[in-house]
Symmetry: C2
DNA sequence: CGGTATCCTATCGGATACTG
DNA sequence: CAGTATCCGATAGGATACCG
């Protein structure tokens, strides 16, 4: 995933779509919205993706500017991931997404009855 | 894209992510939120995807239950796409997404200066 | 008009193994 | 601890051509 600089002029939806295209973007943004986390802690929250996949997804979100990576120069290494300003603003979308997602699941369940 | 029936028990975010994974889902949902449209009209709004791709994306959204397809038995054929109840509810997410998307574009532009 | 049916390719996510 | 390097398979999406 590589950041495209020519997002300007594009519509907000297309832009959002690109940023959210990563399979784990939403989940990562959700967890970092709860609190800043170290790599390992984040990985424990998301047991279904491997270390290398998590790294790639984090790099993508970092390139897009949604999250920030802070490296503490020490041994053993400590790296913290947190939301950027624009990442924090995304929490509003997540909130609506959560409401809708629960609603959607309920709808599916009714159909099954 | 095939609908998975075992979404139950999953978190709302994972569910939402699956539904939104289609490259054009958001754009389609946005346009159908404005008004019910025929296939051709929708295609004119989205010049960047081919007919076959549009068909696939529409089928996926239909399978997920977000949109409804109404076929009017006449010649030439007339098919209308509209939002389902849960699709209408998704407009709230889209609204937040639009706000955020515009914000994000502004942020990027500032960085470029 | 509103599709199918094929085929093809790029990319993305995952598995695995190794490292400062 | 937090990565990187490499490889690999699945699949989503696009191009093209044809159809009721």
């Amino acid at each position: 995933m590589e950041l495209e600089k020519d997002l300007f002029g594009k519509c907000p939806y297309t832009t959002a779509q690109k940023v959210l295209s990563g399979k784990w973007s939403i989940m990562i943004l959700y967890h970092l919205g709860i609190k800043t986390m170290r790599f390992g802690e984040l990985q424990r929250q998301l047991p279904d993706l491997t270390q290398s996949t998590l790294t790639k997804q984090l790099r993508a979100l970092e390139d897009y500017g949604l999250i920030e990576r802070t490296i503490y120069p020490q041994v053993p290494p400590k790296v913290e991931y947190s939301l950027s300003d624009i990442g924090i603003k995304f929490q509003k979308v997540l909130a609506e997404l959560a409401i809708w997602g629960n609603d959607y699941i309920k709808t599916l369940q009714k159909k099954e009855l």
